[in-house]
């Protein structure tokens, strides 16, 4: 791979960035965030959580409320409009120029920068090859599939060697199979280029697969910042736990160093009182029979997913639990089951 494909890893810092719309609605509460150089950071959350607003603040398409600052490296870019920030943007709707060919689209940023014709052609050629688009150079945009269009959009954003690559739900418009393959391609690309990337999505699978760190957002606030493993295994609160993956809730009571959940009791070193506990479906296992510390219940639903069977188990009291078990399980609705819980896998969440 040529050296020109390795891009500078510029850190990005947001300091006290909030955003209030002219009508008075608050889109983003004051946010402080340091994105390391070369890092891929994913903003994850439901629609309206402020993730796209944050991306647009970094891009320069919106400006923060007075007092907020956006820094690229040591440079304060808060007052710079997007056209002077040198960022690359990729949109959900591709936003390719319909009046230009694939090659002209990719060349556009270089043309605006007055790069000479010869160098332009060379760099566009290199970039098209990198994105496996060489044979489509002369095509019109409406002759391409969705996946090809998004690869053109990536090439167009990257060919100008931006300081930061900003991706706004780039895979949302694609069908599931294409989404997976393009996600792998984007991952490979971001690792190869070493560019600082900000990726916005509502899809937790994408976030887990791509992000060095994930910023989970809700109602204009950051709920948690962490690596995918931290977010998954140590969710900061109930919202994060529910938003990422499937999470079971157990209501129990601690007394005398033991935790009582329904008729079950486990050793649990904590102050006495009621607790709310969370556990992942894969951290519950089917037990052979009744024993001390096993939860019991009846199968309310068994969904065969191929590689595994997902059971919904209803305990005699308390909410239903989701449990993953082997794909070849022959349990059916109404069967009595016992569940083994590893106390180490239980999460107490505020």
């Amino acid at each position: 791979m040529p050296d020109s494909f390795h891009l500078d890893a510029v850190p990005v810092r947001l300091e006290g960035c909030s955003k209030t719309w002219p009508g008075g609605a608050r889109a983003l509460e004051p946010l402080d965030l340091a994105i390391h150089g070369g890092e891929t950071i994913v903003f994850l959350g439901p629609s309206g959580c402020g993730k796209t607003t944050t991306l647009r603040l970094i891009a320069g398409l919106e400006s923060p409320d007075p007092g907020g600052r956006v820094l690229f490296g040591d440079e304060d870019v808060t007052a710079l409009p997007i056209e002077r920030r040198n960022v690359g943007m990729v949109f959900q709707s591709y936003a390719l120029f319909p009046n230009m060919t694939v090659a002209e689209n990719v060349a556009y940023g270089l043309k605006v920068r007055k790069v000479s014709r010869g160098e332009r052609a060379a760099r566009v050629g290199e970039m098209l090859d990198l994105m496996h688009l060489g044979e489509f150079a002369g095509r019109r945009i409406d002759q391409l599939s969705g996946g090809q269009r998004q690869r053109v959009a990536l090439a167009r954003a990257l060919v100008v060697r931006p300081r930061v690559l900003l991706l706004d739900e780039p895979l949302t418009a694609l069908d599931a199979k294409l989404r997976d393959s393009l996600r792998l391609e984007i991952d490979r690309l971001l690792r190869t280029l070493g560019i600082t990337a900000v990726y916005v999505t509502h899809d937790q699978g994408e976030a887990m697969a791509l992000g060095d760190r994930i910023v989970v957002m809700a109602r204009g606030r950051v709920a948690q910042v962490g690596t995918p493993r931290e977010i998954y295994y140590q969710p900061a609160d109930g919202f994060v736990a529910d938003f990422i993956g499937t999470m079971n809730r157990l209501s129990g009571r601690v007394g005398g160093g033991r935790l009582a959940v329904g008729r079950t009791s486990l050793p649990w070193p904590a102050p006495d009182g009621p607790v709310e506990l969370l556990v992942r479906p894969e951290d519950l296992a089917l037990a052979d029979g009744e024993a001390d510390g096993h939860l019991d219940g009846r199968v309310a639903a068994a969904v065969f997913l191929g590689d595994r069977t997902r059971l919904v188990v209803e305990p005699p009291d308390g909410p239903a639990l989701t449990v993953d078990t082997a794909g070849r399980s022959d349990l059916a609705r109404g069967d009595r089951v016992w569940l083994r819980v590893d106390p180490a896998r239980l999460l107490a969440v505020p």
């Binding site: 398409l61 997007i82 949109f91 319909p98 959009a153």
Partner: protein, 299 residues
């Protein structure tokens, strides 16, 4: 009519294999005949009110002392040629000026909301309802001998600026009544622009003028071509305003009127009319091919 029955006749042999396969009474079987029957009223109206008068007009053009030479004379007669050239120049100028003003104003109106926005848009479409004579009257009130511009310039410089009774006055009037229809077309097209396209161009470093040239204008091009063609055609054929301003203004519709009523040169008037029709038709056809068939839709 005969063309329609011809289609029915050529279609029927092709249908026979279908019949032999045992589907004789399918409703689609009588389609060509039914089509011909349904088209008959429209064809009759088309023949009576368009085809026949047009053929008659062309024949009258050739019916004078010069015969078919009358058509050649429209181009060789210096007076007529002069009138044709000035009409073309005026219409082209009006089209360019209208497109420029309406594009800027239309984009602004789509992108900015302010108190009184809806009222302003409604007011802008006002001139659509005015006959040419009213437009001419308004031009006279503005730039005529007793007009506003004359009064102001006299107070300021001592000289009275009067241009209502000339090509400049006509230009002003035509731009005034062309703006509404063009602005509405531009606004409809601008509503459909994808804001992400502009953001993408800006992210690549394009300053506002480049975004306009590379993204906005190409996207508006079909609408601008169709609106421009209609504007041009209207300016070519407009008569009321010119007639109100001055009988000496040398535009083609005025020349036709003069030849017809004052000189009683009916053949020349007819030949000029056919020429005017041809030029306008050609302008619309050219625009239609350039805009990819969307001209009729924008009308």
């Amino acid at each position: 009519m005969s063309a329609c029955t011809g289609i029915a006749a050529t279609r029927s042999p092709a249908r026979s294999p279908v019949r032999s396969r045992g589907r004789p009474s399918s409703p689609a079987g009588h389609a060509p005949l039914r089509l011909a029957a349904l088209l008959a009223p429209a064809a009759a109206v088309f023949a009576a009110f368009f085809l026949l008068p047009l053929v008659r007009l062309i024949a009258i053009g050739a019916g004078g002392a010069e015969g078919w030479g009358a058509y050649l004379a429209t181009l060789t007669d210096p007076g007529h040629l002069d009138s044709l050239v000035s009409t073309l120049a005026l219409s082209a100028g009006v089209t360019v000026a209208t497109l420029a003003i309406a594009t800027v104003a239309g984009l602004f109106l789509v992108r900015h909301r302010f108190p009184g926005h809806a009222l302003l848009v409604a007011l802008l479409t006002f001139p659509l309802a005015f006959p040419g004579a009213v437009i001419g009257f308004m031009v006279i009130m503005l730039a005529g001998r007793q007009g506003l511009i004359g009064t102001v310039t006299q107070a300021l410089t001592g000289g009275r600026l009067v241009f209502a009774y000339s090509m400049a006055g006509l230009f002003l009037g035509y731009v005034y009544f062309s703006i509404p229809r063009v602005i509405l077309t531009v606004m409809a097209a601008a509503e459909k622009l994808d804001p992400r396209l502009e953001e993408a161009a800006r992210s690549l470093g394009a300053p506002p003028w480049r975004v306009a040239a590379d993204v906005i204008l190409p996207a508006l091009k079909p609408a601008l071509i169709s609106a421009g063609a209609l504007c041009f055609a209207t300016a070519m054929g407009a008569f009321g305003t010119a007639f109100t301003l001055a009988t000496r203004i040398n535009v083609l519709p005025m020349t036709i009127y003069t030849e017809f009523t004052l000189q009683a040169n009916i053949a020349a008037a007819a030949a000029l009319s056919v020429l005017l029709g041809l030029i306008t038709w050609a302008a619309l056809a050219l625009a239609r091919s350039a805009a990819g068939g969307s001209v009729a839709a924008a009308g």
